[in-house]
């Protein structure tokens, strides 16, 4: 089981309680599709992803970014049981969506960059460590059901 310090728990709750899920989700997914363009392979039905401006302006990207962030909420509310919480989502990403798990880390890195930009100096090294640990646990849970 994952051990969380008081600081880590408080940090995660704090970040997400103040977060604009729609905006952060949109920006994180946009950044991922621009910085790692091969991730666009999963979004063939999204229409125009031709360049950074098109991606940023694409309403399907914005909507899906929000879906992903709200999905993270499950982990925020169940920090002591993330593995079980994501069992179904893991099966979905493996069996139905066929997402290479390496992509989870790419999106997580982009989310970290977006949150860092929003929090500025509030995103201290200790906060960064806690946030990245949280995302690593989520990624591990999402990868769990792959076989």
């Amino acid at each position: 089981m994952v051990e969380w310090t008081e600081f880590e728990r408080a940090t995660i709750q704090d970040i997400f309680s103040k977060m604009d899920y729609e905006s952060v989700g949109h920006n994180a997914l946009t950044r991922c599709l621009v910085v790692y363009p091969w991730t666009q392979r999963y979004f063939g039905k999204f229409g125009n992803l031709y360049n950074a401006a098109a991606i940023a302006g694409n309403p399907l990207v914005a909507a899906h970014g929000a879906v992903v962030l709200h999905g993270l909420d499950k982990a925020v509310k169940n920090m002591d049981n993330i593995k079980a919480t994501y069992a179904e989502l893991s099966v979905l990403h493996s069996e139905k969506l066929h997402v290479d798990p390496d992509n989870f880390r790419l999106l997580a890195d982009c989310l970290t960059i977006v949150v860092a930009g929003r929090l500025g100096n509030g995103f201290t090294a200790d906060v960064q460590a806690a946030f990245q640990k949280f995302l690593a646990v989520v990624i591990s849970a999402l990868t769990k059901q792959y076989h």
Binding site: I55, A116, Q128
Partner: protein
């Protein structure tokens, strides 16, 4: 994933904006790395103090970012331009090249924190590519 003319222009322009803040960025990236990726501290066991505000971290952050800033002018031939630094890392320091990616990530985080408006996705992708190409050049002599 080679650097296009556009990547080089974007990196040069953005690095120009960083200007005098470069040393602080280097220091911050190193400090973040030591805290978020504690395994990286194993290469610095000989330092008396690895805390974020320490003289060692400040000095070394300046050294590292100075080399990266110099590399901005060498983008047309990073392997040639970083040859002696590659020798150093390969034969003397023997830093596992996986760590170059880790430090690069922390440099990106420091840039995002300090230049939130300028570090757009387009700038991010070009800088990420530059740091990746630089890391590859640094690892060139390893084997």
């Amino acid at each position: 994933m080679s650097l296009t003319a556009k990547d080089k222009a974007v990196v040069k322009a953005f690095w120009g904006k960083i200007g005098g803040k470069a040393d602080a960025i280097g220091q911050e990236a190193l400090a973040r790395m030591f805290i978020a990726y504690p395994q990286t501290k194993t290469y610095f066991a000989h330092w008396p103090d690895l805390s974020p505000g320490s003289e060692s971290v400040k000095k070394h952050g300046k050294t590292v970012i100075g080399a990266i800033t110099a590399a901005v002018e060498k983008m047309d031939d990073l392997i040639g331009g970083l040859s002696s630094l590659s020798d150093l890392h390969a034969f003397k320091l023997r830093v596992d090249p996986g760590n170059f990616k880790i430090l690069s990530h922390n440099i990106l985080v420091a840039l995002a924190v300090n230049f939130p408006g300028d570090f757009t996705p387009e700038v991010h992708v070009s800088v990420d590519k530059f740091l990746a190409a630089l890391s590859a050049a640094l690892a060139d002599k390893y084997r």
